[in-house]
Symmetry: C2
Subunit: 324 residues, 2 copies
């Protein structure tokens, strides 16, 4: 997924973020540089820096600090991916072998820690206590949500409400924080800060729901993960939650067994997909994602028209249209 | 190892730290509370809070913030123990099953992250940017040192200099930060802050060297780890580095093979211990630890006599006399 067409108002700043990431992560320890290069080269969408930069500009901020903070927000994301690789026992990340599968658990944990440290250094250096509070509260909630997700593993009673809480903490809160930090940089009043914060949150929910759909629907080469990864990892996402609501006993068993075993043949995946479709699991998830996208956009109503605003609106639409 | 007799000047504050740890770590997520309770109950020496509190008092600080920050410093330590459990694949921690062996890698990683987040929240709430900088720089260096240690795993060319660098980053820098944060609380001038910082660092080196000795010499029930754990985990500590300097080819092979295989019978451990003793590996490590303890104490010369100073001096002596 390339976000280039939404990046136009901040294209130069995004380039500076890349440079910042490369220099900031430089270490005396050789292996760290090697891992960093592998991770940075494997890229990622840079959605979090993009949101930070667009929000800062929308809030009227033009200075250098946005670049530093945008890089810091990407570091939070990358750090949690590294730890997630250990938690999910993931073999692939962005279509390539994960750090964990290349260097092992220890390096994934410790380089994740290293990214987190570097992020903290950037934000402390920036010196704004409000931003520091937003960031630490955000990573705390993210971590709690990840632990909650683990405890809800193979808990078939998880409903839409609990699920939305988990993805709120896992994904939406960080995107929300990116937008909010942009607003804080601009020094806008509470109502504008709140609007950007809410935009980011709703966008995040839509983003994760769309990811859940893509996990069952996408072509592997584009999505960079094996199709049905969530099922294989025992993750009960919304398409399954919707299907389980209406499934009969036999269908329920098929879904639950697949979630529990982890070893899934393509015939199992096909059966589960049929049940999901029978009960509109994908359609319903897409509908909800669309709802969040529309709400995200309305939060921006209070801002006057601008290139940045246009980009944020187009980005929201794209989040649920993408196929990768 | 009970540090009670060094805690007298701050006994009440240490109790408050315990309460703070319990309340601060409270979470909506049930499993987090369960893990937290297990870890808090398993205790630990609370060396970091003790150093923070004694240093703050020595620096003339009497307020509440020392308690918060002392708790935060303990959280840094606990978070890195949790991650170390994954890195070292440790089965025992403080004589009981490690979090990792009880709940698995995922929980060890994520609850470690959670502790780190909570620590950040405390320090951000405290609102002193200098303290924030000391903490983030410290955890960055600690993480780098841990990665360095992994890359030097089974690197038999590691000499005393590199080794001291690794344990400086892994252990000493955090103890040094505790003392420095106490000094910052007291608002003392640079020279006193530097003295406490150096005291903590030298104490930390002595502490780790003494740990290295205990790993080969201690009675298991007291030390809370299996004897020879370092050898089993392939860790080249100073007693072995000293022995390797003078060992003949056959003896060298015995040490190196033990470090490489990880599966060590008690007869192997006995052989390695004989070689260590033959070349004064334990004696030499003890001698160096003593040197650092003496230097640590001289840093405190500039402070006038006080109960706190007495405790810090006695603590330094104890670090190398302890048998657990």
């Amino acid at each position: 997924m390339s976000l280039n067409r939404f990046s136009i108002p901040v294209a130069q700043e995004l380039k500076a973020v890349e440079e910042r990431l490369a220099t900031q992560l430089n270490s005396e320890v050789f292996l760290i540089n090697e891992v960093v290069q592998y991770i940075i080269q494997n890229g990622g969408k840079r959605l979090r820096p993009l949101l930070t930069l667009l929000s800062a500009k929308l809030a009227g901020y033009q200075g250098e600090a946005a670049i530093k903070l945008a890089a810091a927000m990407e570091l939070i994301h990358t750090a949690s991916l590294l730890h997630d690789d250990v938690v999910d026992d993931a073999g692939l990340r962005r279509g390539k072998p994960s750090t964990k599968s290349k260097w092992g658990n220890s390096i994934s944990v410790l380089v994740g820690d290293f990214f987190w440290c570097k992020m903290s250094q950037i934000i402390v250096e920036h010196g704004c206590l409000k931003t520091l509070k937003v960031v630490t509260d955000t990573i705390t909630r993210t971590t709690e949500a990840e632990i909650l997700e683990i405890t809800k593993h193979s808990d078939f009673s998880v409903d839409e409400e609990i699920y939305l809480k988990v993805i709120g903490g896992k994904t939406a809160i960080l995107l929300s924080a990116c937008c909010r930090i942009g607003a804080i940089l601009g020094g806008v009043s509470e109502v504008f800060e709140e609007a950007l914060k809410r935009y980011g949150y709703d966008l995040g929910i839509a983003f994760q729901l769309s990811d859940d759909v893509l996990d069952y629907e996408s072509e592997e080469e584009k999505f960079g993960k094996h199709r049905g990864s969530d099922l294989r990892e025992g993750k009960l996402t919304l398409p399954l939650i919707v299907a389980l609501r209406s499934a009969d006993t036999k269908e329920s068993h098929i879904i639950k067994n697949s979630l529990l075993t982890g070893r899934i043949e393509s015939s199992d995946l096909k059966m589960v997909l049929e049940i999901i479709h029978k009960y509109d699991g994908i359609k319903e998830t897409r509908r909800l994602a669309k709802h969040y996208v529309e709400r995200a956009k309305t939060h921006l109503d209070i801002f006057k028209p601008s290139l940045e605003k246009e980009s944020l609106i187009a980005l929201a639409d794209y989040v649920i249209e993408r196929d990768e």
